[in-house]
Symmetry: C2
Subunit: 337 residues, 2 copies
């Protein structure tokens, strides 16, 4: 039906004087609107298929990039003065399944990162980005790196070798508990009658309790955690950052505080490693890692009390859940007689 | 200020003729309302303390009954022809922390339950109810017992001795995962190229996979699960109940199907027992349990396929998470060299 004939018919009907002129204009407008709606409807019916094609193309693009945001992880490894260990470890980690990318936080200020060496020994399974830092800070590894695209971070110290089965299993556990630190090194805090806290490991099991031990932290230097916690860390009070800068320590304790506070339950889940080694003795650099400093352990206790002060409470919660992989090593669920 | 004097003053002010009479009545009403509100306000200020007292009394009552609904569990133990084992086990289980009550499902038809013997050897830490059954059915233990008051059920076979530390730990795990079966006996189903399923245990690990094993069921005969699942079981199609009655088997497989279907994830979590024993060899009854029947294992596979048929799909999901108690036995998180 032509628009003009519609209009003609309306005009014919509408040939009335005075106020009726307004009605005629109204009817004309209604007809125009009706026609426009019909046209729009027709267009809309056509559009979805165009949109669907675009969505399909987008999905294909994401898939060809390899991973979706929860299905892979980014390794963040901070390094100082142990480039021989770093390169050895990178050769191991670069081949771990579900690894999306490696970000090396290069704390060797003034020394060029080994990009050229790395590239000359390519091709590599995944991209490795060397991030030159401006100051040698422990908390450099907790920046919000723009190169990070995955929901999960795997954070590993530059002297720690974790086996591939351990990593694959722990990542699958993290996918089931994405708001917690899923890692291989449990630690605890203890409170004392004076109200002062102290930091420790398994040697600190309350004697005579006979009912096992508890942990309240999982150290981030061998763990998976949600990458959003890097943003959380950046938003913490300046006093927290200052504490970490002063001690060059305790960034991991702070992360456990932040996460426990945020989720209201224990910050981490301990996965018992089957095959995890510390390679620090193998370095030629002569440098043996921060935890060998005389004051290291005392600093950790100091940090706990300072953080309780800053946050106004002790948010860490205890857990005694230890996760292992069923059937790995073979028949590990059978009782030993 | 007396109400009468207020009224007098208002009346004095209000001595006006005609329409003003209405205003006077209005003012009088307003004053009355105001006074009532003041009285009500005074009462309200008093009430909370009365309410609080009542709440406190109610809480004290609940506490004196011992437990709140998530903090304790009910042991359901079905028994047939092994009363010597039953009584030995009851002596052990009656003292487990957080146990609210024991329900013994007495499948010895025609034989009186040992209420008198039990009572003569009192007092006992918790109530034990012997439920005489009318027919010797495997699924008798999955009834909705009116005596059951807790959210958690501990279901144990009448030949299974589980240590108290194992029970206390597994219960704490159940409290963290209350929608799943938390138990000590994992089993799996496997699918074959023909599409027919088969039932098995750890000997069925896929050879050469090198990546550990998986389980898809946790047997209910040594487990904690949510008591609401007893109601779920009762609501299942008659074909499911008939299958269990025909085989006198598979009630636990059915429960895993039901729960997996309901929660859309793996039905159970396996907790590795430290000290769990089967006492069947110690009975004087000469009766050695259903699983010794020649057809028992084949029946289990048969049941899986029948249930898939009845439900129209395979709802069981695999898991490889094995939970142990951190630090129990002592230092169990250290690596063995």
């Amino acid at each position: 039906m032509k628009i003009s004939s519609i209009l003609e018919r309306c005009c014919h009907i509408c040939k009335l004087p005075g106020r009726v002129m307004g009605i005629r204009v109204l009817r004309f407008s209604l007809v125009v609107i009706l026609v426009l709606l019909l046209v729009a409807g027709a267009l809309t019916a056509l559009l979805p298929s165009v949109k669907e094609d675009k969505m399909l193309m987008l999905r294909r693009e994401i898939k060809s990039q390899g991973k979706s945001t929860m299905d892979s992880f980014t390794l963040i490894m901070q390094t100082y003065n142990r480039t021989d260990l770093l390169l050895k470890l990178l050769n191991h980690y670069q081949a771990v399944p579900n690894l999306h990318k490696v970000i090396v936080v290069w704390n060797n200020i003034g020394e060029k990162a080994p990009d050229e060496l790395w590239n000359s020994l390519g091709p590599h399974p995944i991209p490795v980005i060397f991030k030159q830092q401006t100051a040698n800070r422990m908390r450099n590894r907790l920046q919000v790196f723009p190169e990070l695209e995955t929901s999960a971070v795997l954070m590993v110290d530059d002297d720690t070798l974790i086996s591939t089965p351990d990593l694959v299993f722990a990542f699958s556990v993290w996918q089931q508990f994405p708001d917690q630190i899923v890692g291989f090194v449990p630690r605890k805090h203890v409170s004392t009658s004076s109200g002062i806290y102290s930091y420790g490991g398994f040697e600190m099991q309350a004697p005579g309790s006979g009912n096992g031990d508890q942990y309240s932290m999982v150290l981030i230097g061998a763990s998976f955690f949600n990458s959003k916690y890097l943003e959380f860390f950046q938003r913490q009070p300046a006093a927290v950052h200052a504490l970490i800068d002063d001690t060059q320590n305790c960034d991991d304790i702070a992360m456990n505080f932040i996460i426990a506070k945020h989720i209201g339950k224990t910050s981490g889940i301990f996965v018992k490693p089957v095959n995890m080694d510390n390679l620090e003795k193998e370095t030629n650099s002569g440098y043996s890692g921060m935890w060998h400093r005389a004051e290291h352990a005392l600093q950790r206790s100091y940090c706990i009390n300072k953080l309780v002060n800053i946050y106004g409470s002790m948010p860490l919660k205890y857990s005694n859940i230890m996760i292992s992989q069923f059937g790995f090593p073979y028949a590990n669920y059978k009782r030993k007689i």
